[in-house]
């Protein structure tokens, strides 16, 4: 990795890594939210012009499954990589300032990310068998669970960046 630092500064490297993590998280959040809406409020039949909400939930969820798994793993790996720097340069100042609840919600984010990782194989299997009626209910609730975990992680990551983000 050291050869990279001949071309870019250490700060630039970590900034690029962090932005990649954030952009992957945005893509993951979008895909999972579409899918969760599609299973919670499925569109049966559209009469007349479909509005924004109807179009939002009218996606074919099965097409998102592999992308969601790849995005979760990629976001997880980048997050895990950045986490080592976070532990030294972000968490210690947060503790020194006494922002305990902020630190607590981040600790929960790391747990949530791992719990979500464990759900990915069965989530993928359920969606690859989207026509199997026996999987309708677990497919729906696994998807909604993953979407909830993703929303929590995304918002907490955003809050932490607000507390001690770029340039601090």
């Amino acid at each position: 990795m050291d050869f990279l630092f001949d071309y870019i500064s250490v700060n630039t490297f970590w900034t690029i890594l962090f932005l990649a993590h954030a952009l992957l998280a945005v893509a993951l959040l979008g895909a999972l939210t579409h899918q969760a809406m599609a299973v919670l409020l499925p569109v049966r039949q559209v009469i007349g012009d479909a509005g924004f909400v109807t179009r939002f939930r009218a996606v074919r969820g099965a097409g998102y499954a592999t992308a969601v798994c790849v995005l979760w793993i990629a976001t997880f790996v980048l997050g895990g990589w950045i986490y080592a720097k976070y532990r030294i340069y972000v968490r210690i100042p947060i503790e020194q300032e006494g922002f305990w609840k902020t630190q607590g919600v981040f600790e929960l984010k790391e747990h949530v990310a791992t719990i979500g990782l464990g759900l990915l194989p069965i989530y993928w299997y359920f969606w690859k068998n989207a026509r199997a009626v026996e999987y309708d209910s677990p497919r729906k609730w696994v998807t909604v669970t993953l979407a909830g975990l993703c929303w929590y992680s995304f918002l907490v990551g955003h809050i932490l960046n607000n507390v001690r983000g770029f340039g601090s």
Binding site: K85, I88, E107, V112, T114, G118, L119, W124, T145, L149
Partner: protein
């Protein structure tokens, strides 16, 4: 990427999606992962400890070393969870399908959700007003 590679990759995905052994593996993996993670986290049993300031690893749990920065255990809990769940999933594929089909599929998401309040309780040190 050649056409052959793409076709072969699609065939592998299709074979996995129709495999009852993969279904059993994924079901047991999903149920075991939150259980193992909660156990490893609450008992503080990481597979290894990482010291980010010095880039050193210790097998199992290790404390922070004075003047050498913090110790990180999350990587060790996560790896332990993934390996442990994979082993249990593989063992389950050896069981008769009539047995594994009896595992309620609702457990895959219910176990994950049930782990959350326990993990929140485990973080009680942080939930203070001061």
């Amino acid at each position: 990427m050649s056409t052959t590679t793409v076709t072969s990759s699609a065939r592998t995905r299709s074979a996995l999606a129709s495999s009852s052994a993969f279904r059993t593996f994924a079901t047991v993996f999903a149920i075991a992962a939150p259980v193992l993670y909660v156990i490893f986290e609450m008992a503080n049993w990481p597979l290894f400890t990482y010291h980010p300031a010095t880039n050193k690893f210790d097998l199992g749990w290790a404390p922070s070393v004075r003047d050498q920065g913090p110790a990180m255990h999350w990587y060790g809990w996560t790896l332990g969870t993934l390996l442990g769940s994979a082993v249990l999933g593989l063992i389950a594929t050896r069981l008769p399908e009539s047995t594994t089909r009896r595992i309620p599929l609702a457990l895959v998401w219910a176990t994950a959700l049930a782990a959350i309040p326990i993990l929140i309780y485990g973080l009680r040190f942080y939930w203070r007003w001061e």
